[in-house]
Symmetry: none
Subunit: 401 residues, 2 copies
């Protein structure tokens, strides 16, 4: 397991530049007809050229056999132990919308939902109301106060909102009110330890008042809360790696993740090409870039093998603009595998390619799962990747005499 | 290192079936004349077919360079950290003969031995007396009581027996009386911490009384005790993996190991073929099978290269009956290596092959040490195997948001 204290003690600032490209859900499984994975099917001349000059391998986000969610998958890529640094859903959503969470604040993810006359949930997403409607309803609920605790209610997108509770002595160790199914009543929030009684009581008061206030707002006539959590005490990437890191990511959750570890989130157009343009424009101002490509994972989740192939090819074309500005280290990998044939995240180790002047290249001449399985990097925990990238950028001092 | 709390939190019951075949001491070293290992020498069409469709690799039971005994080797296969979950010799022997150990009981492995007039050990195994004689002598020693502690003395095989001490406040942290050599007197059992004084005293009383009782029973005129231990607090496989596991193993120790982790031990004929028949007959009733093949290890220990090859071939023939009933996951591996040229267990990593519909196959087309060294699974700790098998059987939920 990576030792952040060790890295912190040997990391040194330097002008070299690292680009970490996370192709979400990159790893795949063979198409039943061709025997080739999505990555093996795609025409990827730029990736193959990088693989030829670089070194390949396979990485395990958590450990062999474990299918990670996006948060643990990304935390591991940034070098944090995903088991001890898990970030709650509430915090991720709050950070993703730029809410300025204070230490001690508790955040929860909220859904506006529909309940029938008996109080049973009939739609967990209230028919996906518009983001404008969501903002309007949040205003009705915002700025409550109970037991000297302030509540902030902020819209996210469609039916999604965030509630933040601010006050002394809040412990986030409580259960969700979201039952994760329809046909049942929302659950009562319960404390999982005595210290959490205060938060559970206030959350239940909020839910009861929301029900009254929203009574006439069908279909959004109730709220569901989940993922109560505090901002974890994660040391920033600047602190550990002495880096000045920037993130380019379209989706709020990944922006939230990047912010949680101290990255500057850059504004960018939504397309892959625009992401690379943003990177080039900001190339002089930072020494570490996290570029997130979402389309591969979405296509995998939808079971759309061909679309995943096309997104990989689109990414490969855009990649040439990055290669031309010659970053010292380029890493291309994923936060987990999302094989289209499984229609979801999976446990399979993730292909990785690392290019630098000092990478000790292997015989791989194509970026693919099978080439990576024989690659010179072997198979290793994702949490070791940051140290490897730093080393290849000559940003780590020697350890010990 | 595998995290059992994590696995427990994401394991889900499902109808899919996993078969784990442990070919004891599977890994080998090249024959000096042919340059091929036992596994590479054997004709194994069924294993090679599985390797072609499956994925191969190498596993380390404890860590690189460490030669494991059978107990740590198997515990690692079942997903338990062999360093923290070590099971004492006494407990293994007691469990292997179906003694119903209670929490708090202390068990020790016993040998009937021969001492001369001066009390020095002349034969640690009393000329390997018959099992019948052993049972008869155990009856003479059984059911003693001292300081409100009851002692049970049960025969195992030949000169081997088990003594179990049952009473309040017994701590097993004591030394052996078995000096592990001849020409010296049996040792006095000594407490390694104050809490263990009670047990040490009772053990020494038992040994003294046994000496008196056995005085006229030459060659079995004394006892030697070792491996005082309690049943460890190991969570069962059912608890962790939500599995209903069954074991097919001929030798008492492996039956004991399987029972220690909550498997149902099935009765079976002794041959490899009968083992597979038992598996097929019980296929509907369990979702995890541990099938133990002992002959490979015995042949390796005897330095009999050719016999080890023959046992592997016999196993390969029997394997076809398993393939025909289509378990969702088949794993073939060993608990450690036992190269015939070393005549004993060794530290070499163990070949593993995993077959499932979702395994992401590699280029291996033969099951061998050299193919496994280039296999798609790479090299990983044996303790990660259960998570991998569970994942391939779609028995694990995603971790984290």
């Amino acid at each position: 397991m990576v030792n952040l204290e060790l890295i912190k003690s040997i990391a040194k600032p330097s002008p070299t530049k690292i680009v970490l490209i996370v192709v979400d859900g990159l790893g795949g499984l063979p198409h039943p007809e061709t025997g080739k994975t999505e990555l093996e099917t795609a025409n990827t001349p730029n990736l193959d050229r990088l693989a030829t000059k670089g070194i390949c391998g396979l990485i395990d986000p958590v450990s062999p056999g474990i299918t990670p969610g996006s948060a643990p998958g990304h935390l591991a890529l940034f070098g944090y132990d995903p088991l001890t640094c898990n970030i709650g859903r509430g915090v991720l959503e709050a950070t993703g919308i730029n809410f300025d969470l204070q230490p001690g604040d508790v955040a929860a993810r909220g859904n506006f939902c529909t309940v029938d006359k008996a109080g049973l949930v009939t739609d967990r997403r209230a028919g996906r109301i518009s983001t404008e409607k969501c903002a309007e309803l949040c205003q009705l609920l915002d700025k409550m106060e109970a037991n000297e605790v302030k509540l902030f209610v902020c819209p996210v997108k469609e039916h999604r909102f965030v509630v933040v509770l601010r006050g002394d002595g809040l412990c986030a160790d409580v259960t969700d009110s979201d039952p994760q199914q329809t046909g049942v009543a929302p659950k009562v929030v319960m404390a999982l330890q005595p210290k959490a009684d205060k938060l559970a009581n206030i959350a239940n008061q909020f839910i009861a008042r929301a029900k009254t206030i929203l009574a006439e707002q069908h279909p959004a006539n109730m709220v569901l809360l989940r993922g109560f959590s505090k901002r974890p005490q994660i040391p920033s990437m600047g602190e550990i790696y002495k880096l000045k890191p920037a993130a380019i990511a379209g989706y709020p959750m990944y922006r939230g993740l990047a912010k949680s570890v101290g990255m500057k989130v850059l504004e960018s157009g939504a397309s892959i090409e625009e992401g690379f343009m943003t990177l080039k424009q900001n190339f002089a101002s930072y020494d570490f870039f996290f570029l997130h490509i979402k389309g591969t994972d979405s296509a995998g989740e939808d079971g759309d093998f061909d679309r995943k192939v096309r997104v990989i090819e689109e990414f490969d074309r855009a990649l040439s603009s990055l290669i031309s500005i010659e970053p010292d280290v380029i890493v291309v990998t994923g936060d987990h595998s999302t094989p289209a044939v499984l229609k979801g995240h999976s446990w399979h180790p993730v292909p990785i390619l690392l290019y630098s002047k000092w990478c000790r290249t292997d015989s791989a001449s194509k970026f693919s799962e099978s080439a990576c399985a024989c690659g010179g990097l072997g198979r290793f925990p994702t949490t070791d990747l940051m140290a490897l990238a730093m080393a290849n950028a000559l940003k780590l001092n020697k350890f010990g005499a």
